[in-house]
């Protein structure tokens, strides 16, 4: 039964590898093929999420090095989120990616990365997680450099270097845990063996810090976020949306796994590593927003915005408090939806009009009302204006911070979060205000409706309505996340 868990991982990887053989040069067949694989696989992923807690091992080389595929509540959470977002972005990509021959390689790697993401969600021990994490890095690389320009290649190298460096830091933690843990399987409450560890406790916070920052690289933590503004503007918008919406969430999953399932709350809470990470995440929150506020290139602004928003999540996690954890996990969902919507609507604008600087967008709301309405909804949600989702998650992160074991830092954190929200308003509200209020001199006669096709607008509308609907009725989500935090014992 548990063997079925392999299907959502292997199917897209196999289908992606076989894509050049199957579709040949027939472009319509390409769309049908990719769409059916993604729809089927999303079905399998959801079905896998419906299984009870189960798992199995394959390729058991040693007790540490083995492939452990497993599903639990945390895995379900990320599985459904990533596969849902992947499905929407797929349809959008059909409208976005030019049919210039290179689209075949884009979609091949698009499918394979999907499989790797599923694998990371379903991994049951440190080794498996690490393996799929590196696979995502490699398989997503061709999507980053899709345009093939020298700048894109250079940005791609930067992306790879940072990712591998981050993963290598996490690997240090892996070796440490392999030496000092009962096991490397993810166990709620941690796996460290106090007897083996005796005398070396002093290293623990240091190793934890390395692992957190290492995995944090793909969640854009300072000081490892410099690749984000370099590579996102050069990648196609759907790829940037997936990175920001899904891949960064896999990094969050890895961090949650290391924090709560490997090291354990008791080890981390009150240590200097916790204090240091709170400061670092808050620093990143502020820096991301500030740099986004100063940025004029549309997609780069969104990239910096992701830097800031992902650190909201990391801040919520490192507070080690059920309220903040709830906020962080809610923000995983909402930021996933919101940032995907933002990148996709930015992509719709750039794709249709070629405009990529924010000051060129005056009056664009009149020409592309659907895309800009979705952008507006998502922006309002990202600032955290009720009744959208952003408010719910930020509320819980901030109150969790004040109620945590670092009340003063928590208070500072709440203030930083609000300053960042202010900056977020500064860099997003101005865009849609200009887009919809072009000024009295705006010529309505020259206006041409430049709305994208249904393939691109329908996913956008779905995402935009989700920000509002999930914000107004988050009850089921909250219950589910509280179930997870009960399991991991915070």
């Amino acid at each position: 039964m548990s063997f079925w868990l392999l299907i959502p991982i292997l199917l897209p990887i196999a289908a992606g590898a076989a894509l050049p053989l199957v579709v040949g040069d027939n472009r319509d067949r390409l769309q049908v093929y990719v769409a059916s694989v993604v729809i089927l696989n999303t079905g399998f992923a959801v079905a896998a999420a419906g299984l009870g807690d189960t798992g199995f091992r394959a390729l058991e080389l040693t007790s540490v090095i083995n492939l452990h595929i497993r599903i639990d509540d945390l895995a379900r959470f990320f599985l459904v989120l990533s596969s849902g977002l992947w499905l929407l972005v797929t349809f959008y990509s059909f409208g976005y990616i030019k049919r210039d021959g290179r689209d075949k390689s884009f979609f091949a790697f698009f499918l394979m990365s999907y499989g790797a993401v599923m694998g990371a969600c379903l991994s049951g021990n440190f080794f498996t997680l690490y393996l799929f994490y590196e696979l995502i890095t490699l398989l997503a690389y061709p999507m980053v450099v899709h345009s093939g320009t020298p700048e894109a290649m250079k940005a791609g190298v930067k992306y790879l270097m940072y990712s591998f460096f981050g993963a290598a830091l996490a690997l240090v933690a892996f070796v440490f845990v392999a030496n000092y843990g009962f096991t490397t399987d993810f166990t709620p409450g941690g796996v460290l063996d106090p007897v083996a560890l005796a005398g070396n406790e002093g290293f623990l916070p240091f190793v934890f810090l390395l692992a957190f920052i290492g995995f944090g690289c793909k969640a854009y933590i300072w000081p490892l976020f410099d690749w984000v503004p370099a590579s996102y503007p050069l990648a196609p918008h759907p790829a940037a949306a997936l990175f920001s919406g899904v891949v960064s969430k896999i990094a969050v999953l890895a961090i949650v796994r290391t924090t709560f399932y490997v090291f354990g709350v008791d080890v981390v809470i009150g240590s200097w590593a916790q204090t240091a990470l709170i400061v670092i995440t808050l620093l990143t929150v502020f820096m991301g927003s500030m740099l986004a506020y100063k940025e004029k290139l549309f997609s780069k602004r969104l990239a910096y915005s992701s830097v800031s928003q992902l650190s909201y999540v990391l801040f919520g996690i490192i507070l080690l408090n059920p309220l903040a954890f709830l906020g962080a996990m809610l923000h995983v969902v909402f930021h996933g939806i919101i940032k995907t919507a933002l990148f996709l609507s930015a992509g719709a604008v750039t794709h249709k009009t070629g405009k990529s600087y924010v000051y060129e967008l005056r009056g664009i709301g009149k020409a592309m009302p659907v895309a800009m309405w979705c952008f507006t909804m998502a922006s309002v949600a990202l600032v955290g204006i009720p009744p959208t989702g952003g408010f719910v998650s930020k509320w819980h992160i901030a109150t969790g911070g004040i109620a945590s074991n670092h009340p003063t830092l928590g208070m500072v954190g709440a203030a930083v979060l609000l300053v960042s929200a202010l900056l977020t308003a500064g860099y997003l509200v101005t865009i849609f205000a200009d887009a919809f209020f072009p000024g009295a001199g705006f010529s309505y006669k020259k206006l041409v409706n430049a709305e994208s096709g249904k393939l691109m607008t329908v996913p956008l509308v779905i995402l935009a309505s989700l920000t509002l609907l999930l914000g107004m009725f988050p009850g089921a989500l909250i219950e589910f996340i509280n179930g997870i935090s009960a399991i991991i014992g915070i």
């Binding site: 591998f164 204006i385 202010l422 988050p474």
Partner: protein, 689 residues
Amino acid sequence: MTFSGSPALLLLVFWPIAGALISYIIGKKNKDWRDYFTSFVVVTTFAAMTVTAFSADNQHPPYFEWSAFMGFRMYFRLDGLRAIYGVIAAFMWMTTTLFSREYFAHYRNRNRYYFFSLITFGATLGVFFSADLITTFIFFEVMSFTSYVLVVHDEKPATLDAGKTYMAVAVIGGLALLFGIFIIAHTLQTTEIAALYGAMQNYEGDMGLIYLAAICLLVGFGGKAGMYPLHIWLPNAHPVAPAPASALLSGILTKAGIYGIIIIGTLIFYQHYGWGILMVSIGIIGMLTGAMLALFSIDLKRTLAYSSVSQIGFIVLGVGMQAILSSDYNSMAVHGTLLHMVNHSLIKLLLFMLAGVVVMNTHELNLNKIRGFGRGKPVFTLAFLMGALSIIGVPFWSGYISKTLLHESLVYHVWHFPVYTWWSTYFQITEALFTLTGGMTTAYMIKIFVCVCLEKNNYNQNKLSGFNKRYITRTSAAVLIVCALLMPALGVMPYAFMIPIATFGQEFMLLFTAPYHIGFLEWLSLRGALASITVGIIIYALVVRVCLMSKDEYGHSVYINAWPSSLDIEKRIYRPLIIGILPFVGALFARTIGSILPAAAASAYRAFVSFRNFWIEEHAKQEQDAAEAAQAERAPHTQGDLSQIAQAAQILNMRFSGDFMRVIFSSLAYSLLIFFIGFALIQIVVFTG
């Protein structure tokens, strides 16, 4: 999803919001039907609101609780002040929407206006019904953001600029408010408004946190209320916003802010002397500044906007006075505050609609251009007169009642100092300034009334008089007359209408009995008003007629704007700070911190590259030497075999020299390198440990 209580309250809030969507859809097809439908929505909401409010039992007020909205509790109540303000909000939206049909007849984007106006309506009702700070915040934010669209409706450059100020105050205020609620939720462990009082009485923690929270809440609510020094959006937004929107902004949205200020001033700081002094000080500065600027302004709507700042100052002063006076004697202050809120809403509704009548006919607001507009327009002049008399506080008009109550509470406090102290002097000065502000109110109202309705325009009186008899539709005229007649109707019989209204709302401010009796026609009460009016007439005669008017080149007297433009708190302080200085400092900080690692990595990379180049060069040199040596030794016939191997190697090399493969392999190698370093580190730790 679990509901309890009366769903009528939820319906009242969501019916306008649903109506907004429906009217937008209708408006895509047919403009007339859209207008009928929006009128239908506001009239039905007003009717339902009135019925619900009047049938409410104040002992067991209707409430509505929805325990899972956004993961929080949505909690509405309809008692006292909430019911009063629900009715006033519904009344104001009804009148302005009926008036809008004529006002917007020649505007673009009307669909958008009605859509956002109705959403703002629903959200405003939500704010006034809210019985939990989180519910308040949710609707408050929706109200702030949707009303932005009303402000910037005509999209002229000045409008968009004012819109920026409005949005900045809304966003910054909203975040300050949220921070305050965070702290309240943490320290007092409740956000239910009625429970705040009890939680404060039992609170034994750090008072510093409570003060911080209160200041944050005050910034949030005060920004919306137009409280000094956060009033900056009022004088900018009002002249450029459409008149119906101005009426709503000034009349009702500011009161949503006051609603919050009352919560801080009574429920959190019940009978807190220090907070009372703070409120009185802010109030008196706002009153004076607003009145002063109103006196100098030569733009009709800007005058009214500054007048709002001034009148909000009166209300804030009232909130302060009820905290200063002990709970047995503060009933006058409580009633004065509540009634002045009500009066100011109704008066500003009327006056801004009148300004709208001027704008829609002449498209001008400058006093010199619209001078004499009211000549020969009896309905207009009468309505203007009613509004002016009421806001001045002339006996028999509604404004007199609330101003007298506020004034009497000040006088009472001054008289009841047992000994002479600094504070008694402070309150004596405050009382004098109160009278002076009343005088300035009189002066600027006389100024605009005389200018618009009595004086003759020296240049185009014919054009202005040409509008006579066709300057307004019957619907609008009826709306104006109803609003105008409310002023004397309420003021003539205070004990029949106004005092019962105040008594109905007083429990919100924790006043349960009202042990006072004021004869509003006794000399003691009248003399305050008369003093103000006398001072006002003197100011008008000596300042306005002499200093604020001069002769133009044709020898006609014109109004001049004598206020130095450099004295502008927004342009001098707020804008440079928020647009220039703070982002610069923040970005400098962010860039510096952010470039630490990339800079280190870049220099490490440069070092690596130069080392590699050195190595390659050395290697090449060695190879060259070796090759030369070999060349000298070996016979030429072995050349063929070598080249075959070299060819194979070259092919292999080409395979792997593609950018993609090279990058992947070098990165993998790099990652392995780091891995081994880490592994070695750990091993060292393990073995030494």
